[in-house]
């Protein structure tokens, strides 16, 4: 009997054109949290999909409980007691929470074949209770927030009494407070004898939870360390392959005249009385809890939705934006929160994605000039250091960070004054994060006004000039970054009173 419950040796996996995993080793014991870290596209998700049988490896072996195991499909892995919470939520929006938790192993009466609803609902409520959330398990999954859906996913893993539980970036959509809950749950699981494989881009998660950490880079296995053997710097170096000295490469940009001003804009049921101003060269951060309405404000500024009241001024002139096209023409660009759904045509080549926002620039009399498109894609791609072979690479073959860069490249084709970035670093690795901040700095230097939505305190404090805090659809504070503290921001985001704290302007 080996000391490991699960061991993988020499695993290799090829996708058309990419090697996603190259001779990778990994093992995990019962009662331990083993974290996997690495850049976007390092192969982490692919690795766990091999463990769960979604993909079959091209080479290598899997040893489970000391015996070689053949995992051909997800049912095999479930039978072995492996449960996974995937990176992209894999729930059934039309089914109830209970069904989502128990799908595939529902209890039913063997004679009538009726699902034992009462029992399952009770058990679901119990599981949710264990996770310290108490919503009705009868409601439709689709009506829950992403965070709650995430909790249901965890409950699903709990429900099978799995011996190996895999979590792929479970904290990406959670707030700090919710993450804290998740830590507790994870520790409980570990103490009850489960082996937990934990994937995250957040260093805090790793240092808070992991007993050991394994790093992948460019599809290759780099090393495995005990938590107390490794420092933050060493870890970053292992992941990125070089030293990163400055995480928030903030430049000293000269802030110029006002470019955008919103006065008392409101949208029924989403936000109310939003006023702020943005200057050329400035980075204005919007922060708050998930669901505070930041995305809604951005979308209204960009013309995806309409605000009911209030005024927006661009360069001092009042403007009406009824459609994203008008926003772009007037000089406002938007990087959406949902990269896959809203940002990119995933099945499309790079150059087509990049030119999509401003097709008329790449055409004459409505006829597309592909050479212009490709040249521009090449230039922008090189400038932003997008990792791709040719401009024909499909967006869905790129890693998260590179996808994000493609969307930025798309924005840069247009002649913009204001760029709105909604959670630009969500699910993006350290290296790419720094690259994105670098780009933001450069853009600010060039005179763009930048709005950045973010829930990460350090990065909000690290890169912005001023901070707008939102709470329940209203602005609760406008703060000068240099004069504020994390506590003050949290207080504004969570605080009870609806008074606006402001020491900026």
């Amino acid at each position: 009997m080996s000391e490991y419950i699960l061991e993988l040796k020499g695993v290799t996996k090829d996708f058309p054109g990419v090697r996603a995993l190259d001779d990778v080793h990994f093992n995990v014991r019962t009662g331990e949290v083993h974290s996997i870290m690495g850049e976007n596209g390092a192969g982490k998700s692919t690795f766990i999909k091999i463990i769960t049988g979604v993909y079959t490896p091209d080479a290598g072996e899997i040893i489970y409980n000391g015996k070689p195991a053949v995992i051909r499909n997800t049912l095999d892995s479930q039978r072995l007691g492996i449960a996974a919470i995937y990176q992209h939520v894999t729930s059934y929006p039309d089914l109830s929470v209970t069904e989502n938790i128990f799908i595939g192993h529902e209890k039913y009466n063997p004679y009538t074949r009726r699902i034992a609803w009462k029992e399952l609902h009770a058990r679901a409520a119990e599981l949710l209770g264990q996770l310290e959330s108490s919503f009705d398990p009868r409601v439709r999954m689709g009506s829950l927030s992403i965070a709650k859906q995430q909790i249901v996913e965890i409950a699903k893993a709990l429900s099978v009494n799995a011996r190996v539980i895999i979590m792929d970036e479970p904290t990406a959509a959670l707030t700090n407070r919710e993450s804290e809950e998740l830590y507790k749950i994870t520790e409980n699981l570990k103490n009850n004898g489960a082996a937990v494989i934990f994937i995250s881009h957040r260093m805090v998660d790793m240092f808070r939870l992991a007993d050991r950490v394994t790093v992948f880079r460019d599809a290759k296995y780099i090393n495995t360390w005990n938590r107390d053997e490794i420092t933050h710097e060493k870890l970053v170096k292992a992941m990125v392959g070089r030293e990163i000295t400055q995480y928030f490469p903030k430049r000293n940009v000269h802030i110029r005249d006002e470019v955008l001003r919103a006065e008392h804009i409101s949208r029924l049921g989403y936000f109310r009385d939003i006023s702020f101003s943005l200057h050329r060269g400035e980075i204005l951060a919007f922060t708050g809890l998930v669901g505070a309405g930041r995305t809604e404000v951005c979308e209204a500024l960009y013309g995806i939705t309409q605000y009911d009241e209030g005024h927006i001024y661009l360069d001092g002139e009042e403007i009406q934006i009824r459609h994203p096209k008008e926003a772009i023409d007037k000089g406002i660009g938007y990087l959406p929160e949902d990269r896959h759904g809203h940002g990119l045509v995933m099945d499309w080549e790079l150059f087509k994605n990049i030119s999509l926002a401003l097709l008329e620039k790449f055409s004459r009399w409505k006829f597309i000039r592909e050479d212009d498109e490709k040249k521009s894609a090449q230039e922008l791609g090189d400038k932003l250091e997008i990792k791709a072979g040719t401009v024909f690479d499909k967006a869905n073959t790129l890693s998260g960070g590179n996808q994000q860069k493609v969307i930025v490249a798309k924005l840069l084709t247009a002649d913009l004054k204001v760029i709105i970035l909604d959670e630009p670093t969500k699910g993006v690795d350290v290296g790419a994060k720094t690259a994105i901040f670098n780009i933001m700095g450069e853009l600010a230097e060039m005179g763009y006004g930048i709005i950045m939505v973010s829930s990460e305190m350090p990065e909000v404090l690290g890169v912005s000039d001023r901070i707008v805090v939102m709470k329940e659809g209203r602005i609760s504070a406008v703060l000068n970054t240099e004069e504020t503290t994390q506590e003050e921001i949290l207080h504004a985001a969570l605080g009870e009173k609806k008074k606006v704290i402001s020491h900026a302007e």
Partner: protein, 330 residues
């Protein structure tokens, strides 16, 4: 970090070049001519190739915009009814004293309006799928055709009107010439212009296009309008070939047209396929049924053959893709 450049040229790959649906269609197309000429001594002559298209090209006009509709991931089952309604209105208006050229304009205007009405409903009520909208308008348009003409036929068009469906210019049928022009225009529109690019984008990801500032509603409206307009063309040519019209003309055209588009390799989930495929499919189905008609095969056997062709060809396509995937497992 090392200097890297993204290349702008793609290495030529024989796999990518030869594994194209259109090649299979070309092979089928050639095969059909070979089979047909061995079957019937009347098949292999110049008249077959020049005249026959007249008998099946009427629907082909709708195949062009239907390709757009399906590329968008939508579907339009109201086209047959649109043909009926516009044709009936043209005939009634002509018989009520409207000069024929104006009646023709009216026909196109009505069909375009029908298409546009579908489009407006789609844009205004996004919650409804295109299928349910066009299922209802299909019933409504056909219903109005019945209201107008009851169970009568209407015709008596001037002599020159039959020129559209039967006449030749320089030895080529008018219909073939007009279709070639239309097909060329649609090809340009789809593959060379920003409009076509938006269309593909929307078929792949409606949201990504909206967030990129594409006027998606406008594209949907234009596609609906083109669908209506081309249905009007079909109405004109069909009416011209028959010399009269009834409320029940063009019944079942919608499914035939959709079948051809799909046989042409356009995916009904949107965003994939080229217009050349459906055009080839039109000629494949047309010549196949003409050739088999020359050996007087019965209509039911022809039904079976065309149904089987559809299933087999698409299955072959899928098996081929799966095989390719197997080699590099995904």
């Amino acid at each position: 970090m090392t200097e890297r450049t993204i290349r702008t040229e793609r290495p030529w790959s024989w796999k990518r070049f030869f594994f194209q649906w259109e090649w299979l269609l070309v092979i089928i197309f050639i095969l059909i001519h070979v089979v047909n000429s061995t079957l019937s001594p009347y098949y292999l002559n110049i008249n077959t190739f020049i005249r026959t298209p007249q008998s099946f090209l009427d629907k082909a006009f709708i195949v062009l915009p239907m390709t757009f509709v399906i590329l968008l991931g939508n579907i339009d089952v109201s086209v047959g009814s649109t043909v009926a309604l516009s044709s009936v209105i043209m005939a009634v208006a002509y018989n009520a004293g409207l000069p024929m050229p104006l009646a023709i304009v009216l026909c196109l205007a009505v069909s375009t309006a029908c298409g546009l009405f579908n489009g407006i409903l789609m844009v205004k009520y996004k919650e409804l799928s295109a299928a349910i909208i066009t299922i209802s308008t299909m019933t409504i348009y056909r219903g109005f055709a019945y209201v107008i003409l009851e169970d009568q036929a209407s015709g008596g068009f001037p002599e020159w009107f039959s020129f559209l469906g039967w006449g030749n210019i320089a030895g080529f049928p008018v219909m073939l010439i007009v279709f070639t022009v239309c097909a060329f225009l649609f090809w340009i529109l789809l593959h060379k212009t920003t409009f076509g690019r938006s269309l593909y984008g929307m078929g792949n990801s409606m949201n990504a296009c909206r967030y990129s500032g594409i006027r998606t509603d406008r594209v949907i409206l234009i596609v609906s309008l083109l669908t209506g307009l081309m249905a009007g063309f079909t109405a004109l040519f069909l009416t011209s070939r028959m010399g009269s019209t009834r409320p029940n003309v063009a019944q079942g055209y919608e499914l035939e047209v959709i079948a051809m588009v799909v046989l042409g390799g356009v995916s009904t989930s949107g965003g994939k396929g080229r217009i050349i495929g459906p055009i080839l499919a039109v000629f494949i189905v047309g010549f196949l049924s003409y050739g088999l008609g020359l050996v007087n095969i019965s209509a039911q056997v022809l039904l079976i053959i065309i149904g089987a062709l559809l299933i087999v060809s698409v299955t072959v396509l899928n098996v081929r893709i799966r095989k390719r995937k197997k080699k590099i497992p995904a």
